[in-house]
Every structure is written in structure tokens, then in C-alpha cells.
Symmetry: D2
Subunit: 208 residues, 4 copies
Amino acid sequence: MAKLKALFLNASLKSSEEPSNTEGLAQEVIDIYTKEGVESEIVRLADYHIPYGIEKDMGEGDEWPLIFEKVINSDIVILCSPIWLGEKSSLAMAAIERLYGSSSETNEKGQSIFYNKVGGAVVTGNEDGAKNAASSLLYGLSHIGFVIPPNVDTYWVGEAGPGPSYMDEGGQENDFTKKHVEMLACNTMHLANIFKENPIPAKGNTME
Amino acid sequence: MAKLKALFLNASLKSSEEPSNTEGLAQEVIDIYTKEGVESEIVRLADYHIPYGIEKDMGEGDEWPLIFEKVINSDIVILCSPIWLGEKSSLAMAAIERLYGSSSETNEKGQSIFYNKVGGAVVTGNEDGAKNAASSLLYGLSHIGFVIPPNVDTYWVGEAGPGPSYMDEGGQENDFTKKHVEMLACNTMHLANIFKENPIPAKGNTME
Amino acid sequence: MAKLKALFLNASLKSSEEPSNTEGLAQEVIDIYTKEGVESEIVRLADYHIPYGIEKDMGEGDEWPLIFEKVINSDIVILCSPIWLGEKSSLAMAAIERLYGSSSETNEKGQSIFYNKVGGAVVTGNEDGAKNAASSLLYGLSHIGFVIPPNVDTYWVGEAGPGPSYMDEGGQENDFTKKHVEMLACNTMHLANIFKENPIPAKGNTME
Amino acid sequence: MAKLKALFLNASLKSSEEPSNTEGLAQEVIDIYTKEGVESEIVRLADYHIPYGIEKDMGEGDEWPLIFEKVINSDIVILCSPIWLGEKSSLAMAAIERLYGSSSETNEKGQSIFYNKVGGAVVTGNEDGAKNAASSLLYGLSHIGFVIPPNVDTYWVGEAGPGPSYMDEGGQENDFTKKHVEMLACNTMHLANIFKENPIPAKGNTME
């Protein structure tokens, strides 16, 4: 079976000069992918110039097309976001807007270009907001053509209020989060394999 | 191939003595299912006594177990909700709570009992709130084990403010809604068939 | 100055035969109110027969009118909810639907009956979802006529995954939650006093 | 009474070289403010260089401090957003993140710098998502210290699916939207006047 490719779009507000807790959790998923022979790549969105807008290419140094090319070449796309005020980051929303702006492209059958690709979400924050962020990320992916497998919202948050982040202390020992890392990794992989062998028939779902 | 079964849980606040616009839209999906040989059943939740709580059986005349039996025997489950204040109905949330209360049950492989089942959402309102409602319904299903195919959030809403409902005038002629009816019907059907032939492997996703 | 009245609508799914962690947190707010001379009452919604619907009185033993009478006679209304799947409870949504169903009633100036009343939210869960729940509760109140003071979303949640509830251990020692209890209590009180002395002028906001 | 100042932060993804439907609706609010002697200013956020992050000043040409200065000098702040995928824009979220990053600043009493300021939301889209966007915008403002008056979520959206925008045809004739324009304008003005005369007492709400 052809090797699967997984792409992580990390919407941390920080560029890769700084560590990202969200990336720390994504790395746990990657560790499983690597053991299973899935190829992984993380894109730190803050490293790129991604203008606001919903065109496929906004011109003037827009680097989104480079990222979009990676999306097209991946079987699995995991949106990764920190939490601010109980929500996904502005940069995560910018990525969804740009993905949406390319959702009228089609594959060779006339379906959305994202059909047969599988989505997931990785979220961290020092407290509260993970399910709200994950719900929004997964809905965005589903709405533009991705398949959402069961249990692909993996997150870590601490107790209410300011406090340690995922990589500070203890987060990586959370059994619930570890179980969900495994479910996210395995279910995205299982479904990506299933759709590679059994692509979604082009009936009732092509774009006119 | 075995005949597929689709279950519609209609969370209208009204019992079946009154017409439901949301059911009107669900019926459009059923029309396609019928042509394609998928068996459909609509449950009007307001006709049943469904106590608040998260036990599988709350006792004292609880009729949820009757509905849950139907869920277990279905390949496709569509949550249907009207919109109030921009959100899904209280009864839709009650259904999600009760489904969640049964999510620790497992299939013969030890996965959540909902694995290999496919979910979708049908929403109507006289205005605004459909995507918020659908996002919440689909996330709830995904979080407990359902697969969410692409483009399975089908809705109709009118212009901002009080106004006609889906069945009053024109709603049924909305091309966008009709296209999404077709995508919901076909993609839930396509994926239910795929998972019937290719069940999700029991690796990394069993419940301990 | 006339004594203020505060009403807590507790949307725990459990009746008052069982302890409610959310009520435990609400009680912290009440302790401050009591010291400050604000009269408090908690209504456990699950103790009442509240049919689904959006009529002011759904008939057939509907006990909502009893609760609505309390709302009308209060200066401060605090919606209290547990968290399920990262959201407020079904019963909290039912309360909002019924409040909304009464929002066309007007005061003597022709404004919504809820004008000059002040709202707030108290939320607990063993993990994640508090801000999402609070945001929805406060928006519902604001949309029908309540004033929302600053910092009136008070919550406690634990670390990601199953774990202790607010009253089990440590929750009541959380400094962030305690600070927000104080802000909720004081700001609802401050603003209720301000609007008692300075009611919102009836210009541009009466209902025709 | 001192003249009130209202600031509109328009989070359209387009710079001011292009017309913004959301700004068209904001302008309706401004027309009322002007008649009532409230001074208004619209900031098109896309015209400014606003780096991602949560520092008060992110350095390197960050223009947020210019905008923040305007926020500090305003009595009323209206967040204005278009809708994408049923949500507020990425730029609206960026504005909330930056406001949040400045929320530890205090006024002379030690309260959040945003105390006694009044917030509101203006949202437009060609369809669905306005209440979800408004709810998030208002919660963000409330959480950092703004007062949210009743009925300050003003929006226009069309029927489900692609279609005309607010300024294209008919949107400006929508009676519901016009009524809410008036309520937003008048209630923000009424409450800003009330808090100018009756600032929130500094008890229980200062930041340590």
C-alpha cells in the first residue's frame, strides 16, 4: 500500500523561533505515525506570509499557495491550534478561510479537491476551550470536503485559570490526552487507508 | 450488499401532532434514500418521554432505550434540529447527552458501539444559526464514535429576522439546499457502504 | 436603596435530591450576596415540569410560569449550567427557549420585560467547555434584553479528561475561580444598583 | 454632558480600497450616532499592519498600538465582522487577541482599562452565521471588561446559500435589521451615558 502523508498546520501565533505547546502535542501524534510508516510534516503557519482573504492566491508575496500544494499532496490534514479566549487562534481561522477559498477546485471526478482526504484537530491551552476550538476546526474541514473519522479531536488543557502549558509539567502524562493521541493517529490512518482503496464514488457530490 | 438503514432523530420542540419544517427537509433526504434502496425511519423525539440525564436508562418510564435500540440498528444517523436563538434545540442537546451516556458501550471488537456508523445533520430555521447548530450536532456525533462524511450539514434558513419557514414558501426551491440534500444523502450512503465492506480496524481505538 | 434580588436558575440535569457541583459554585456567589444584603434564591430546574416549547405557558401542568414569575421579580438572573460534551446542558437551553418565548412581553415603557435586569453565568464541569457554555448563556440573556456586566462568567473545570468535580477536591481553592466569583457577585450587584437608579431610557428600544 | 465617542473596528478581510458590506451596515449605526451627537470613527483593520500575538506591542512596525489608543479614548467599541464558514473573520479574532493582550492594563481605580466602556457587534454575510459571530464578539468584549447592553447584536444575512450581500439589494430595507440598528445605536449610547455619570464602583473587581 502506498505510504500515507500527514500534514500538520500549526496555527500557533508564534513563529518557529519559539517552542509551541501545540506542536509538542502534535509531535506525540507524529511519533505514532512514524512507527506506522506514515510520513509527517509540520508547517508553522506563523513562519509564512499568509495575507487575509479568500482568493486561492492573494498575490504580492502570498505564500499560501506553497502550503496549499502540501495540503493537496497529503492524505491526512491535522489543524493544530492554541486557545485564546476559549477559541481557536486567528491564524487557525485564516487557514480555514484560505482552504475554503480553494474549495471550488475539483479532483478528476469533479468532486471537491479535498474528497478522500481525512481531517483531525490538535488543540492545547493552559485552560478551557479545547472542544470549542476542535469543533470549529473539524466543522470547517468537513464543510469543505474532508472526512472526519471518530475521535480525532485531541487536546490538553489544565484546570480553570492561568497555569502551566502542555509541555511545562504533567501535560504529557495525562492518560486521557495520550489515549486520544492514539485514537487520532490510528483513526486518521485507518480511514486514509480505507479511502485510498475505496475512494468516495462520484455520485451526488460533484461540483457543477 | 445488505440494505442500509437510516435513522432520523428529529428534535423539533413540537410533537408529531404538528408539522415540522425540519422534518420537511429531512423528507427530501429520505426521498433520495428511498430511490437508492436505503430504508428510512424518522423518530419525532418530542413524542417520547426522554428524561434529562446521562444514564443509558433513567428508569421510571424512560423511553430513550427504545430510541437507542433504533440507533444501534442503523447504519446512518441524522440529527435534525430547528434553530432557537441561533442554536440547536434543547431536545437535540438532550439526545446528544443520552447518546453520550451510552458511548461507553462497545462493539464486538471493543470499539465504541457507534464505530462504522455514519452521521449527518439537518437543520431549519426561519433565519440564521444553521451552521452553528450543525457544527455542534456533527461534533457531538464525531466525539462519540460516528464517522462524519464530507458535506453532511444540510440546512435552510431565510433572510435575517422573522419570516417564512422552510415549508411556507420557496424554501423547497432553494438550489443550495437541494444540492446539499443530495450531498448529504449520497455521501452518508457512500460511506456507510464503504464501512460495511471495510470496517475500521480495531487498533488504537478500543475502549479499556 | 431597595434590597436587590438575585435568582439562580440551576440547569443541572439532576433534581435537588442529588448534590450539584454547579450549585456549589453558585453558593459561593450567594455567600457574597448575603454579606452585601442581596437576597438570593436558587431554582433547581430539574425539580420542575418544564415542557419543551416556546410558549409563555405550554399548558398541561407547565410549571415554567412559576419560574418566570421569579425572573420578573428579580434584579439579577444567573444561569447556572453543568457541561456536557463541551456545552451547556439541554436544560439550560430549555430555560433559554422558555425565556425567549416570553421576551415579547414589555415593561410599562414598552421595552422588553427583561430591560434593566442584569445577567450572569456560573458553569462547572470536570473538564473543558466552560467558556463555550458561558458565552452561549450570556448571549441568550443579552439577546432578549438583559444587561451583561463585565466579567460575569464564573466557572471551574479541571484538567483535560475525566476527573474530580468542583466540590470533590481542590476546586473551591482555585484562586482564579474565587476571583471570578467575586467579580460576578460584585459587578452584577453594582450594575443592578446603577440601573435601579438610572433605568435605560425608552428611546429606540421599545417593542412595537 | 461630554460628547460620546464610538469606535468601529471593521474586521473585513478587504482593505479600504474595496467596499465592505459590513461597513455599510455600520454606517447605518453611525447615521443615528451623528444625529444624536455621538462622534464616530471607523477603523478598517485590514489597512493596518497587525502582527499575530498577544503582546500589547509586538514591535517591528506593529500598528496595533495606534488602534489601541483609539480604543482607550472611546466610550463605545463596536466590533464589525463579515462571516466566513458561519463564523467571524480571522481578523476579528486577531483584534480580540490583541485587545485581550492589553486587558491587564488598569484604569486609575485598578479595574481593567475597559471598565465603563460599552461594546456591541455588527455582522453581515450573504447567509447564515451572524449570531454565532456576534455571540463570540460580545463574549470576548465582556470577558475583558466591557459592558454589553441589551440587543447590541445587529446583523444582516440572506437566505441559505450564495446570494446577494447587504448592500447589493434589499438588505438595507430589512425591517428587522433596521430595528436592531436602532437598538444597537440607542442602547450603546444610553449605557455609555449612564456609566459616564455612574462609573462602576471599584469593589470586588480590581486587578491585583
